[in-house]
Amino acid sequence: MIWKIAFRNLTKNARRSVTTAMAIGIGGFAALLFGGFVTSIWFGVQTSMIQEQGNLQIYRQGYLEFGAANPDDYTIQGWDEVAALLASDPVLNQQLAVITPRIDLAGVAGNAQTGNSKTFIGSGVVPSQIDEMHKWDGWSIGQVSPASGLTDQVLDGVVIGIGMARMMGMCGPLNVADCQDRPVDEDALTEVETDFTSLVNDEAEITDLREGSVERPQLNLMAATSSGVPNIARVGIEAARPQAIRAIDNAYVMMHFEQARGLLYGDSQEATTLMLQVANPDQVDATKDRIQEVLDRAGLDLKVFHFTEVDPTFNRIFGMFTFMFIVVSIVLSIVIVFTIVNTVSMNVMERVKEIGTIRALGFRKGFVRALFLTESALIGLFGALIALSAAVVIANIVNSAGVQWTPPSNATPLTVQLMVLDNPLFAASVVGLLILISVVASVMPTFKAARLNIVESLQRA
């Protein structure tokens, strides 16, 4: 009967109840949409990063702490044997979709045509395996990254950042839109020709690795081998692609793994890291443990990391949006609390005599509290249902509109997907929280109602 009384009292003051439920609904609607966006970030940005780096990465012990100072001391030697070891494990074989090496390197890049040169940072990857990684969609959100632009067959092909193209004066030759070449410095050109370019041309090991590569704009890359000797390669630029961070965009060169290996290690099977993609994201932790177990059993001085341990960008992005979500939710909660307090206080004021009667009839204070708290819970529920319905409708509209945004970690935009019902736990939590806020907000006026003097309440007109 307490639910009956609560429901009928809400319908009796329909306008007030609707206004309060709407206030709760609007607050919940905002929280659900923003939460849906944060959920979308969680899935979308993570998917992007896993497509680029894999879920897990294997490094030599100490690489993350000290490898930056001397990367050659922390390479994975015999990476191919490590990859074969992991692939031969019956458990990992089922869980790992891709195992691929990467070499991180840095050096100096120069364009003999324009006389421009600058430092570069780059990576050497296996194109076909990277392209396979770009297709990963473990959460089935339909997000696929574009192909790398490299092929396994073209060993001297590279993809550079747009900023790098600009610095090297290659926007024109590469037909890069919205990209202006750095002006040619004739004096520098002469100087470079006599120094850097001539050094390249004189380098005996430099060979053009692809037939007809002269048709592509070319870049000369110089890096120090693991023994400290300068090594130079002439590469052909396949494409220029924007990178997420300007500093990296200005210096980025992605090349074939074999090209990078030739530059740094010669014939030695060394790699900076092994990137691993786990097919099912729910199995990442178990897979990580299994990999470490396999590595330890083989006595290898290697350690496996989750990609967020290596690159904190995802945690920072997600943390930032989560913090914003919390702040927005707190502000919305405060608005809801004041609305509820006002509504319940008015209900109590109007029903003082009823409260006195209920108490006189032998009901304890707890019954009065329960009565008003039930009303608040019901109004919270109605508000939550309004919020959920509106959020689902608006999210569907936004999702079908194909709105795009570029997260801080990405070079390419993601399609906004407001995931309201895709995360049922989140949606249920918001609904539960709205009801809880409604109940908690009404505690004070409700307790006040229960404490009313019975005689004075009955005397109220």
């Binding site: 009967m1 307490i2 009292n9 009796k12 009823e354 006189a360 032998g362 304890r364 019975i454």
Partner: protein, 247 residues
């Protein structure tokens, strides 16, 4: 039809102990030297000063007196919705002068029925639900509550109005519903504070007659507070209060 049972199903959980209703001969209510003092604007006002008396079992007792004499205060104390400043109150020989809030609520639920001047029916409930309402604490079965409500509404002649809302019936009918509500818990004592003040004289007489009849039918004691002495039925006991004293 109904008699006061000697064994009640309701077991309160605090200070209140169920009254032994088999105590023969004890008055329903006994009050000794009841004093009630209010403080208004830092001035102490005695609403009741050393009032003593008793209410006989299964009788109708009228408390009369002019407006502001203290009759409602005495009634509120007897109904355990107010506490005396000093003095003793016994209901069926049990000292109930200083019950805690919970214990007083439990006692009221078990032993006291209220009838108010303005009927005080819960507007969002139907007539039947209003009568069922006091049973919520004691009768878990909804069908049993409904059955009892129908039974008591029938006894006040309103069985056909069971699904109406209070706003859809007349004042006299509302007071009859209030009487059914007061009786449905089969109380020892019914407290009626100016039950006819909002009714016309003909309906007032009907309501008093109904209460008098119910007292006999349901073996309960009825205390009616009124300033209208014309309502006093022949043979009824009367306590007259003037300026906080029994006259």
């Amino acid at each position: 039809m109904n008699s006061i049972s000697t064994q009640r199903s309701f077991q309160p959980d605090s200070q209140f102990q169920p009254v032994d209703l088999t105590k023969a001969g004890a008055p329903a209510v006994r009050f000794n030297n009841i004093k009630k003092t209010y403080t208004m604007d830092r001035v102490e006002v005695d609403a009741l000063a050393d009032v003593s008396g008793s209410i006989a079992r299964q009788e109708t007792t009228f408390i009369t007196g002019p407006s502001g004499s203290g009759k409602s205060t005495l009634l509120n104390i007897m109904g355990l919705i107010d506490q005396p400043t000093s003095g003793e109150l016994f209901i069926l020989d049990e000292d109930v002068s200083r019950l805690s809030d919970k214990a007083a609520a439990d006692f009221r639920s078990e032993h006291i029925g209220f009838i108010f001047q303005s009927f005080n029916l819960i507007p969002v409930l139907t007539v039947g639900e209003n009568v069922e309402f006091p049973l919520l604490r004691r009768v878990k079965s909804a069908s049993e509550r409904r059955e009892k409500a129908e039974q008591y509404l029938d006894s006040v002649g309103l069985a056909d109005l069971i699904d109406r809302r209070p706003g859809e019936i007349s004042g006299g009918q509302r007071q009859r519903v209030a009487i059914a509500r007061a009786l449905v818990t089969e109380p020892t004592l019914i407290i009626a504070d100016e039950p006819t003040a909002n009714l016309d004289s003909k309906t007032s007489l009907e309501i008093i007659a109904l209460l008098d009849h119910m007292k006999s039918e349901f073996d309960t004691s009825v205390v009616i507070c009124t300033h209208d002495t014309s309502l006093i039925t022949a043979g009824s006991a009367t306590i007259n209060i003037i300026d906080g004293h029994t006259a």
